[in-house]
């Protein structure tokens, strides 16, 4: 059990920080502190607000033997699998979108390149529920999804039972998953770890709660007073969070609602260059670099254009909060 205790040794007396313990760190330190070889990791977002920079940092730090516990997962998983970081994936959907096909994932599952990727499938709702059960600290949550199909046949963690209340219905029991670490990218967070999400939340509130440790990467660290203005948007409270790193454009090349649009040309280039191993390794060489260097390489003009695009369709954060 680690989702607990904002408190510390109660006897050590007063603390001068007016707002409690601060958790600010940098991306490199956060990954080094919480993601270890063999860790299980859940990532936030879903083809939008994904913690892409954090995943690239995991690759840069050459973590191995990871299990990714997740829902639907796109680019960042494909990169990590191609780079040899991941041994197992538990989730609902892998691939990418219209213009890229998860080449590394297929290559790992079908051809064991760079090594075999073990898959354990659930449905999307099953994925939400495995985190819900983890967040609730109960062994399982029941659902009607996945009944009558082969998903439970190939995922031994799922159980099918008869409704103990005697309705005659069958139910799928989805067991709790508790990732060692959840990594969630959000628009804003305060130094205590109160993370606010604009727009859709996907399963991020549940992943942060289910995980033993949570790293928040955010576009912007704001003051705790700023958080207090819209408490309804704090979907991840401080007591579930261990580290907060300000990582602007941390979802590039994906979207960050209200902040910037997806860089689809960059993404397409990844899709093309991940089609064969040699090109992919060159892509890694080129783009697995510290996030500051990455952004510089992308270029300020390009980033600004992506911001302008998003602001054209969705009101920017400063207007919304």
């Amino acid at each position: 059990m680690t989702l607990q205790n904002t408190g510390t040794d109660h006897r050590d007396g007063t603390d001068d920080e007016p707002n409690g313990r601060e958790k600010i760190t940098d991306l490199e330190t956060a990954i080094a502190d919480y993601v270890h070889d063999g860790s299980s990791v859940a990532f936030g977002g879903m083809g939008g607000r994904d913690p892409e920079a954090a995943a690239r940092e995991i690759v840069r730090q050459k973590k191995t033997g990871l299990t990714v516990l997740d829902d639907a997962r796109t680019t960042l998983l494909d990169i990590m699998v191609g780079a040899g970081c991941v041994d197992e994936y538990v989730g609902s959907w892998v691939g990418t979108s219209l213009i890229s096909q998860g080449h590394n994932i297929r290559n790992a599952v079908e051809n064991e390149i760079p090594h075999h990727l073990q898959m354990r499938d659930v449905s999307n709702f099953g994925s939400s529920l495995m985190f819900l059960a983890g967040a609730m600290d109960v062994p399982f949550v029941p659902t009607r999804s996945m009944l009558g199909t082969d998903i439970p046949e190939h995922n031994d963690a799922l159980e099918i039972i008869d409704d103990p209340f005697g309705s005659g219905d069958k139910l799928t029991l989805v067991p709790a998953e508790r990732p060692d670490v959840a990594i969630i990218h959000v628009q804003r967070c305060d130094p205590l770890g109160n993370a606010q999400i604009h727009g859709n939340v996907v399963n991020d509130h549940l992943k942060a709660r289910a995980a033993e440790h949570t790293i928040i990467t955010c576009e912007e660290i704001v003051s705790t007073d700023e958080i207090r203005k819209t408490p309804e948007l704090t979907r991840i409270p401080f007591y579930t969070v261990d580290a907060v790193a300000e990582v602007p454009f941390g979802s590039h090349p994906w979207h960050c609602y209200g902040r910037y649009y997806a860089d689809l040309p960059f993404y397409r280039e990844y899709g093309l260059r991940s089609q064969n191993r040699e090109d992919f390794l060159e892509w890694l060489e080129e783009w697995i670099i510290p996030h500051e260097d990455y952004l510089e390489k992308i270029g300020a003009d390009r980033l600004e254009t992506l911001e302008r695009m998003e602001h054209e369709i969705n009101a920017p954060a400063e207007v919304r909060s």
């Binding site: 977002g45 879903m46 083809g47 939008g48 639907a72 609902s92 959907w93 892998v94 691939g95 979108s97 219209l98 213009i99 599952v109 079908e110 064991e112 073990q118 898959m119 499938d121 449905s123 999307n124 709702f125 939400s128 529920l129 985190f131 659902t143 009607r144 999804s145 996945m146 009944l147 009558g148 199909t149 082969d150 998903i151 309705s167 219905d169 069958k170 727009g199 859709n200 939340v201 996907v202 399963n203 991020d204 549940l206 979207h255 960050c256 609602y257 209200g258 997806a262 860089d263 689809l264 040309p265 397409r268 254009t305 992506l306 302008r308 695009m309 998003e310 054209e312 369709i313 969705n314």
Partner: protein, 323 residues
């Protein structure tokens, strides 16, 4: 909901909307196309599919949609014959009015003018409770009872090390289980229309009539399959039935691409062709042909031109919406 609205478990409900030609209203021709209801002179096969799928969504329905063709059809329906339908996406947006092509399930165009921004667990909770009328999904394989596979083509190998690893269920299992009715969009290939799917990802009409009811599903399962050759419905036994073929496609050609002995409606019709208004709207939604023709040209032009093109399209669709 009020008494007079049919429930999901009302046998009447899962019937698909008719696609007879209706008098065009302003809302179904927002671009102001001349002779909007006439059959389009030129349209692509993909445009035909998008329009056919769009007509599976009736006005005032909630439509659970994914990326690509599925969403394209939903957006088309909303901009044409079903202005009051509400789009639902599994990443957490409800009721948005996307100003263009969607690249991912959390694409921020799905946030545009959304009525609700929530989480995935809540969306699927509502889905399981039977809140949504129609879902549109894709699949890699399908059998005669509409059971689909989007997980693995095993071939003579294994689940762990399959011949082809497909993306997985995503929401397709949950939608087929619980959504009022489900439309499946697929390529018509003999190897995909199989007597036995390699892996049952989403539950069609399962093994026998009544099987879904036995399991307590609130959703009625697949109601239609739309392919690049034909449109299929399902009979009371839960068996797929050829209903229409696309223009110039003979029934025999469809049979050739199905492994089982295909049931065929007494009167196989020709799939209704898109109208001028519909094709014009589709091209406005996806002017760069990303979904409709699967071309990448908009990405090949370089970042600057890409961003300008996309911005221009958004503005165009938003101005339609503002009118």
């Amino acid at each position: 909901m009020s008494e007079e609205i049919p429930a999901v478990d009302d046998p009447e409900h899962p019937e698909r909307p008719g696609i007879e030609h209706k008098e065009a209203t302003d809302s179904s021709n927002p671009l102001g196309v001349d002779r909007p209801n006439e059959t389009a002179e030129d349209y692509t096969l993909t445009e035909l599919l998008a329009v056919t799928a769009a007509h599976e969504i009736a006005d005032h329905e909630t439509a659970f949609i994914g990326v690509g063709m599925s969403l394209m059809s939903g957006v088309l329906a909303k901009y044409t014959h079903a202005p009051n339908c509400q789009l639902v996406t599994e990443s957490g947006y409800i009721g948005s009015v996307p100003p263009g092509v969607v690249q991912s399930i959390s694409d921020s165009v799905l946030g545009v003018d959304a009525l609700v921004a929530t989480d995935q667990c809540e969306i699927f909770t509502d889905n399981q409770r039977g809140a949504f009328d129609v879902g549109i999904i894709g699949a890699g394989q399908i059998d005669s009872r509409g059971n689909t596979n989007s997980t693995v083509v095993i071939g003579d190998q294994s689940y762990d090390r399959p011949k082809v690893r497909l993306p997985g269920s995503g929401g397709s299992n949950d939608i087929m289980t619980s959504c009022g009715r489900t439309v499946v969009m697929m390529r018509q290939k003999r190897r995909a229309f199989t007597t036995d799917v390699d892996y049952k990802t989403a539950p069609g009409h399962l093994e026998y009539p009544g099987h879904r009811e036995e399991l307590g599903f609130v959703g009625k399962g697949p109601c239609a399959v739309i392919t690049d050759m034909a449109v299929f419905g399902f009979d009371d036994d839960g068996e797929m039935v050829l209903e229409s073929t696309h223009p110039d496609v003979p029934v025999e050609d469809v049979r050739d691409e199905v492994q089982w002995e295909l049931r065929v409606a007494d009167e196989v019709t020709t799939t209704r062709e898109p109208t001028r208004a519909e094709v014009a709207m589709l091209r406005t939604i996806d002017p760069a042909d990303v979904v409709l023709r699967g071309t990448d040209y908009v990405y090949e032009v370089g970042f600057e031109e890409w961003s300008e093109t996309v911005l221009e399209h958004w503005r165009q669709l938003q101005s339609i919406q503002d009118e």
